[in-house]
Symmetry: C3
Subunit: 668 residues, 3 copies
Amino acid sequence: MDKLLYGAAYYEEYLPYERLEEDIRMMTKAGMNVVRIGESTWSTMEPQDHVFDTRHLTRVIEAMDKAGISVILGTPTYAIPTWLVKACPDILAVTKEGRGIYGTRQNMDITHPAYRHHAERVIRKMMETCASYPNVIGVQLDNETKAYGTAGPNVQHGFVKYLREKFHDDLDAMNRAYGLDYWSNRINAWEDFPDVRGTINGSLGAEFSRYQRKILADFLIWQRTIVEPYLRKDQFITHNTDYSWIGHSYGLNSETDVYENAKAMTVVGTDIYHPSQGRLTGMEIAFGGDLTRSVKRDNYLVLETQAQGQIDWLPYEGQLRLQAYSHLAGGANMVEYWHWHSLHNGCETYWKGVLSQDFKENDTYREVMRIGKEWKKYGEHLAGLKKDNRIAILVSNTALTALEWFPISEKEEPLYRYNEVLMELYEVLYKNNLECDFLFPQNAAEYIGRYSLVLIPALYAASETLLQTIEQYVREGGHIFTTFKSGFADENNKVWSDETPHVLGKVCGICYSQFTLPENVGISSEKIEHLTGEVKHFMECLEPVTAKVLAGYEHYAYKRFAAVTRNVYKKGQATYLGCGLEKKALTAIVMDTVRNAGLSLPDVQFPIILRSGQNEQGKRICYYLNYSDSFQNVCIKEKGIELLTECELCENQMLTLSPWGLAVVEGV
Amino acid sequence: MDKLLYGAAYYEEYLPYERLEEDIRMMTKAGMNVVRIGESTWSTMEPQDHVFDTRHLTRVIEAMDKAGISVILGTPTYAIPTWLVKACPDILAVTKEGRGIYGTRQNMDITHPAYRHHAERVIRKMMETCASYPNVIGVQLDNETKAYGTAGPNVQHGFVKYLREKFHDDLDAMNRAYGLDYWSNRINAWEDFPDVRGTINGSLGAEFSRYQRKILADFLIWQRTIVEPYLRKDQFITHNTDYSWIGHSYGLNSETDVYENAKAMTVVGTDIYHPSQGRLTGMEIAFGGDLTRSVKRDNYLVLETQAQGQIDWLPYEGQLRLQAYSHLAGGANMVEYWHWHSLHNGCETYWKGVLSQDFKENDTYREVMRIGKEWKKYGEHLAGLKKDNRIAILVSNTALTALEWFPISEKEEPLYRYNEVLMELYEVLYKNNLECDFLFPQNAAEYIGRYSLVLIPALYAASETLLQTIEQYVREGGHIFTTFKSGFADENNKVWSDETPHVLGKVCGICYSQFTLPENVGISSEKIEHLTGEVKHFMECLEPVTAKVLAGYEHYAYKRFAAVTRNVYKKGQATYLGCGLEKKALTAIVMDTVRNAGLSLPDVQFPIILRSGQNEQGKRICYYLNYSDSFQNVCIKEKGIELLTECELCENQMLTLSPWGLAVVEGV
Amino acid sequence: MDKLLYGAAYYEEYLPYERLEEDIRMMTKAGMNVVRIGESTWSTMEPQDHVFDTRHLTRVIEAMDKAGISVILGTPTYAIPTWLVKACPDILAVTKEGRGIYGTRQNMDITHPAYRHHAERVIRKMMETCASYPNVIGVQLDNETKAYGTAGPNVQHGFVKYLREKFHDDLDAMNRAYGLDYWSNRINAWEDFPDVRGTINGSLGAEFSRYQRKILADFLIWQRTIVEPYLRKDQFITHNTDYSWIGHSYGLNSETDVYENAKAMTVVGTDIYHPSQGRLTGMEIAFGGDLTRSVKRDNYLVLETQAQGQIDWLPYEGQLRLQAYSHLAGGANMVEYWHWHSLHNGCETYWKGVLSQDFKENDTYREVMRIGKEWKKYGEHLAGLKKDNRIAILVSNTALTALEWFPISEKEEPLYRYNEVLMELYEVLYKNNLECDFLFPQNAAEYIGRYSLVLIPALYAASETLLQTIEQYVREGGHIFTTFKSGFADENNKVWSDETPHVLGKVCGICYSQFTLPENVGISSEKIEHLTGEVKHFMECLEPVTAKVLAGYEHYAYKRFAAVTRNVYKKGQATYLGCGLEKKALTAIVMDTVRNAGLSLPDVQFPIILRSGQNEQGKRICYYLNYSDSFQNVCIKEKGIELLTECELCENQMLTLSPWGLAVVEGV
């Protein structure tokens, strides 16, 4: 793509009165050049079985075309029409809570042949009538897809077939791998396989979660094979990936494996929602961007993000613009709001779009206009940002799911789980302006060698292969920073029975047999400043073997154990963190490890965020983002041009950023 | 009625041994003159299908008659006998949780023909045998009736017929009105109508709640048509209405429309339960009384209120008497305790009556005696109190239900919803001794013109007609005080798409497009003292059009918006409150509005409560109620006689009220 | 038994690789001499219907025999195999939540004939092949058995038969006893009996709980009749009783009646789990031990207790040993850890055994070695400890269950229920080194006369017989200490209708009609020091009749009532506590009552715990246990030998106990 895409999801179906021309006028005025349409409007597109009407789509596409606005076409399959459920009630997924009831979206069994039959037919009809328009630039497969907990007899039937294949029909092997003997759960004949919804076995349960992720990935591939024949070479295929959710986007999602899903896409898409107002930090934007970019190691699309958003997300002046540039700073080529207008009915009436229900120009719209204007002017400098990061974080759906079955600590509220360990590490990097990529178990072997330092949060469950990849990386000179709860179990959540942590113990030069929850336990270090404070959440009783002790526990019962260690292993080094830390202490040990890996530390910290890369013209682009409500001075390191003001800057020039303001410097 | 009724619900069925004569002796000693019997005793009255035995009722009626005690006869239908469920299991309501299970009361489908058949038969039998006794003064239809969430296929069948009639069979109109296109919920054929229990559409969902309220109102009318032929002219028909419940009576109930239900009654009845001991303020008594009185704009019956009540309601000395007079001060003609004796078994063993399980005289009984004695002596002065209030509050079940689907803020615990907005306003009036009536959407047009000031809490959803009624009222000289979240949606919860707030924007001289939850936002006013402090719960970004700004927000991001405004509109004035306030600030703006409406402010505040009216002899009766545990001096404004001490009082005489004490002054 | 048993549950089935010889080597090294095997391994023992394989058991028994290790054989029936559920799905219990789903243990209907058929067959097979080995010392029937909420139609069918027998087919008697008239719940024909799962009647509901406890007791007797014919005279029959659970063992369990269950055992067994680390007090060990010992008034087996245990139970140095001796100090003859090795899969992976998953020697194992060594050497002095206590606490499942239906206060979080009243009293005794036994309604008449003082916590529901037993005890010279909420209802939870408290009112010389929850109420006493502070949870308005008032309420509304009283009744005395107290005040009144009963008060308090008795050689054994992390000095009262150091001690010698340390003194 040679220009930035900027726009909104647009649902002409939901408008209370005819407004198409007026909406296009306002979009054009605001500098928008793309809309996403169609997804979730099946009941409009096929009002009755085999009765199709796509005029509401073609009408919009044609009008947008006239106005020079591109269209992304969403397959409508993530919400099913009422007639389909009446005709075929068992399309509704059977989950742990039993058969669902019609009402919400995303409640069907996406493996059900009747659903597949109807979904394919409506997708084909949409593609036939809509795909060939010149302004249709791409297709979005479904939306925020999951398996929706589908676990009926048909799904479990497939699961047993999957297990028979995985274990080559060897039941003993499966019983052993999952430890099913326990509490008499042993399965001695395949036909005895019990209802997996009731399992309390964290190995079998996690395997079923993995199978559900596979259902989802297979489903997207299936949709891709349907839409592909209708597409021109210049049209992309994407999908709106959503991450985990705690009221906003946050960490990995145990229901989706974004790496596998991406095999159905030519460009990876995502939605990113985040706190706003006084709680806006940009971290979720950066995290979502870095993760999405890392999947195909390429630019990505922000298919949804907030305009006014949820009720307490109404942005302060400047925030919407800061957010938009922050997306670009991660490598996004598109920012698309969800959604153009706020709904007049239904459960998302208070998830507001660019316009309120009164369709009047408002502060948010006025800020969109400013962004649109700037991007029209400077977009070619900003599109296609590439990065060459030296730090990576290894993330794993297997470990994430494992720690849902085996929580780090069940005693805490809010729970401290995989995503907390991950996000705490990410926050240290983000706030200290250390950019990073993500590695996945599937591509670690291929790419790990490119990095100077790899952070490994709570890799609780991992295959021997993945652990060996890490071992080889350090052996050949790499640096790792590994936290507690790593190398504990294999990919089936079977705890290793030799040494703890498995493989990583050797690499890190430590072992341990016992661990506990800290109660009035402190940490102290003679070697690293600020590595002090309270031990939180969880602690391992580390015994150094070849490692150097960086910090120990302050508590009479744990004096002889290490808390943080570092080990020289062959050509590389491995730092091991045996316990939860307060932010300040975590920052201290991570920063020390970064320095130890030979990387330089930026002298600017949050609330000033620096993000940079190379644009398509090969020029260095550096974003200076002010995530605060006060003026901030920042020193520009390299000679360049501030793009948005077109000012030339010399080396070491001081620049003042407005509250929630920013600067974009192109190197010369 | 020319005398006060004073008594208790009496369940001879539940007594552990024969006590009828002894109970009557104790009642008579205590000055009681009425009991309520019969309701919920179906299994005793009809022990087997078509086997009736009403001797336990006639026996009590006859014995009461001998002692000069009146009887209110309750139809027994709100709890069904075991044999009926065995014979016809589908009488149990199907709700969102599925088919109910026998055990609790109020779990049947009140629309079910089998239930109706059996209920009618047992009511007729009771009326035949009991209604004609001379001391039977009235009938209570059922008890605290609701639809009990009934939502089975039969009920939904009726709901679809109701919708077809409402929309004249025009599906497009319904889809449009409810915005069903969203997430593919569009219904393109009536036979495709999905199970409404699963709906996530707040328009359809609220309509179903309205339909459930209609089921209830229709049910009471049906019972009235059954009992009416058996009644003499002097016998009344009532129903025990209950309001919303948060451990005690509180605000409107979204499951009942008291205005519609009252069409089945000749006298409106209610129950009122409230906190006691150190938490006794009298507010719930006043609120329940004012609301109930306003339904038919006439006196009412307190069919149930607490004696010892729940475990932490045991009244301090004086409180029971203070409560009893407070009911009269609202216009009640009867106070009936629930119940005479405390139960020896079952789930309400700890909802205690006048007597404990030991049947001995106790402090509560001794206070009942005092009340009974006084009422016998002074009752004719106190009965039939009429009021002529100048302030009204407009309440709406439609708005209440709407805000259950669209909460003001989902972030708070406890939730801040319609009833909180309503009760905060009521509290300001109550504690400043400003008496008020209530208006309902059904009677606003007829009566609104009688008031100098109308308070309108969170009228989120309202018909065009109701909004025009308000507009006309102000146009012709009325004053209104409207809060945030008013005029936002129509009666189908469809957000207005023209201006916000709809109609009221014009009247109030403001508009707004955006709103948010306040975070460290203050309010300040140069015009009104004490209109200051923290903004809470919710805030609108008001833009004055013709209105005068009374207060603004203190926060850098919201400086340009108004928080409170006042507008001269034609002959009237409209004050608009754009945000949640602390109590002190809310009091300041409400008091200022009262003054601005030309009303005078009493110089006495809580804990001294003043309530007054005219008795049936046309004399002014004024209650001075001391809601505190200390002595309080109060200045008597008008010459009169303190009834209970028979002291003559001159103008401006100071009177000392005992802790939890009171005085009743009859003007001369 | 002439030696101490020390060992662990051992599940060779769950081991990840062949380790039997190595495990036995490590056990022997640690001084262990017993293992428990077999329970919950049905799916291994009978992999398919009627296909048996007990070699995994015989193999272990034989290897243990060679090493001189005894074996307790557990019947495998508390977890059912997958094939059984597939073959007979209705074996899964129907509970309030409906039919269960396979997965967890303890989810079947233990009354189901198909379950009984299969369970009997597998038990017989196990007994046939395993019971006759010389080192098999006993059998454990099932494990932690309950009725698991089973309440399907078959179970309810049995319940109705049980009721017909209880009430001699007299329905009126039942309706009266349970007060079913209320809310029309009256049952007028046995065939009308409604689904008891829905009942809201606390009498009927509690009766069903009692019936479920009977199901459990009958089930254990049934297992005993199966295993008994296979056993030698020297082999015992036990069962693993578990008490209530709040994250650890705590108080009585309303699902089990340990007294009734014990009829199936020759030796009573139990599990005891407790907080550890900084929260270790030994109280749960003492309570569980005292209660279990009291059932048959004999020594008992600790069939399960924690080694490393749950994640935050990892013992500090010394704690495991302190715990082990504390079990002996209560009269245990065996301490068996759950379990030998930590699991590599499944839901109890983090309920760790002696060894971690790496099977290496760790700190916990090393402390086991120390204990094992000491017990081998000194075991014959320590086994078979007998006690002759002067204080008893009367506990009742009927009262416990009653207070689940009628909570003392519903307003509090955490709830204050029967077990809180019980445990607060027990804590006072424990921390002041006053040892006690427990009495049960079933054996009170026989044994109550042996005690100088009987504490009676919240005996809410009790039969006339039990109350008369208490009356007779005091009449003949006994002392009781009774709390609020005693003597309120009969054994059917029907509140007594004569006087409150029933019978006990006369004994205690008081009565009351009213009670409430205290709000800013204090207590004060002129007679007893420290009987002061806040009144908590609940208070009764006591009126003394013949009693002396020990303390009154501080609150203007409750001045005339007593809070604590003492009464001379015939030859005895009765102290009555009418309200909840803070710990300090509770201690004051209990201690005063102990003194008043003529008992002497030890001058040593927690954290030093003294426990003593007579060993099998008739010598006095006294344990000095230091439940703190600091050194403690204690004065030895009697001349003797400190067993573990073999030091001679003279009278009044000071001894220093290490942190979490102990001494055992044998009198000479």
